[in-house]
Amino acid sequence: MVGYLAKRLSQSLIAVLGITLIVFLVLNLAGDPVQLMLPPSATKADMEEMREKMGFNDPILVQYGRFLKGAVAGDFGRSYNYSEPALDVVLERLPATLKLTAAAMAFALVIGIPAGVISAVRRGSKSDAAIRVLALLGQCMPGFWLGIMLILLFSVRLHWLPTSGSEGWKSILMPAFTLGVFTAATITRLLRSNMLDVMNKEYIDVAKSKGLRAWSVVMKHAFKNAMSSVITVLGMQIATMLGGAVIIETVFGWPGVGRLAVLSITNSDFMVVEAIVFILAVALVLINLIVDILYCVINPRVQLQ
């Protein structure tokens, strides 16, 4: 298991380097950062002096190396919009995004797992059909539209929940539900499919013929085996959720990293953008490693391999 995880860690480090390099190159193509840093009245000589001072005339890979060195030390430069270190701007908002993502994943698991199990166990029934239709709709609806519809219903019409912001427990319900719906639908469909496969296996027949109760057969044998491949998908779903958080935070005015990313991109605050990418890439690496460890624990055959 240690060897497997070491291999995954090295692959993940390459992924972090690759992502940050791509974003660094793309951002450098976006335009001249010196024009953003200096006032409009700055002369060409001033711009050239700033370029030389900030190292923007150096080869791109040298600049990237400098960026990486700074990143490891936590120095991503200063934000143009907030006049603070870029890392501080991101770290201030990171807990809000992690809180939202964790709540969304909790929603997804609480809704998706029972739905998938019920749908598989009651295959062909009305409840199975209803769950499958809802799961399909959950994957087809744009998240930001669902968010807007929820605001319309629960905030504008019923006045039960706030339209935006992050004050109090009520404010997280709609954004977390909206963000979690796609993953819940994915878990439902995948778990249903896996459980139907597993429930056709011979060992399930053996368990039933031994006289085990139906619930015990389903949960102790079928569910555990079906869930192992769902866990591998969860890692990818977290990446999808973080991408979705960009839009959901904008819809609900949630003060997280996603909303900061949109604002920073539109305002060309590239130091913050680079810091966000680096932090998110590292966070995803860690989360995926945790998921891999969980998978090794649940499926001992991976350890043997």
Binding site: I14, A15, C140, P142, I151, L152, L284
Partner: protein, 268 residues
């Protein structure tokens, strides 16, 4: 079948947009701004689905918006298929460092939320249908590359490929004439499913103001406007989202049907 019906309906409405639209999509009628749909109190058949904050007809904008959606989703899918199949084929056929390099790029792209990358690229390239098609293609090529590579790894050692080599067939001939035709089924299924994702991606970028130029009506932009006025004009938010949902539903149903029809064992 439902999926096919939905797709055909969207295609027909996009093609017939100039005939079906009561107005031009950018024609303003300030006197009738925020006019509700015909079935609501205060609505009428002059603007059957209501109007927006500038009095622009919602039905016309939805019909013309479907054109943009289809152009971008089909264009992006074609681009993704072309790039993904080619790179996947090269990766699977040649192996070694070529395979390692291409698959590392695939892994890197798949390990990060593409929405953020798409936003960066959109901000860099600027608004434009061509740029969004490019982004859509970049977002999807990795999945085709992986699937095609996997198929080719199993095909390339088969005896008939060896026979073609023995008869003097070069690599290009083998890849184009003998290998790629075998990956058509999984690619078609994947393309249908990716098309749905591109529809959502384009809508998301338009919603965030990073999509096509502001003067071109898109469902995503209509939703963005709808968010601002949803208290006074909720139809502005409801209708474009319904259109996106129904289109994506149709494409997903079609993709599921194609997968079951072409090869139920496909793991896509």
């Amino acid at each position: 079948m439902l999926g096919l019906i939905i797709i055909l309906a969207v295609l027909l409405s996009a093609l017939a947009a100039p005939l079906l639209s009561p107005r031009k999509p950018d024609e303003q009628d300030i006197m009738n701004k925020f006019s509700p749909p015909a079935w609501s109190a205060g609505g009428d058949m002059v603007h059957p689905l209501g109007t927006d904050q500038l009095g622009r007809d919602a039905l016309s904008r939805l019909l013309y918006g479907s054109r943009i959606t289809l152009v971008i989703s089909f264009g992006g899918t074609l681009f993704g298929v072309a790039a993904g199949v080619l790179l996947g084929a090269v990766s699977g056929y040649y192996g070694k460092w070529v395979d390692a390099l291409i698959m590392r790029i695939v892994d890197i792209q798949l390990s990060f939320p593409f929405t953020l990358l798409a936003l960066f690229i959109a901000a860099v390239l600027g608004p434009g249908i061509r740029n969004i098609i490019l982004i859509a293609g970049i977002s999807s090529w990795v999945r085709y590359a992986r699937v095609v590579r996997g198929e080719i790894l199993s095909i390339k050692e088969m005896e008939y490929i060896e026979a073609v080599r023995a008869l003097g067939g070069d690599d290009l001939r083998i890849i184009l004439r003998h290998i790629i035709p075998n990956v058509v089924s999984p690619v078609i299924v994947l393309a249908t499913l990716e098309l749905a994702k591109i529809v959502l991606m384009e809508a998301s970028l338009s919603y965030l103001g990073m999509g096509v130029p502001i003067d071109i009506p898109t469902w995503g932009r209509m939703l963005a406007d709808g968010r601002q006025y949803m208290v006074s004009a909720p139809w502005m938010a409801i209708l474009p989202g319904l259109c996106i949902t129904i289109t994506v539903l149709g494409v997903n149903l079609l993709g599921d049907w194609l997968r079951d029809y072409l090869d139920p064992k496909l793991d896509i």
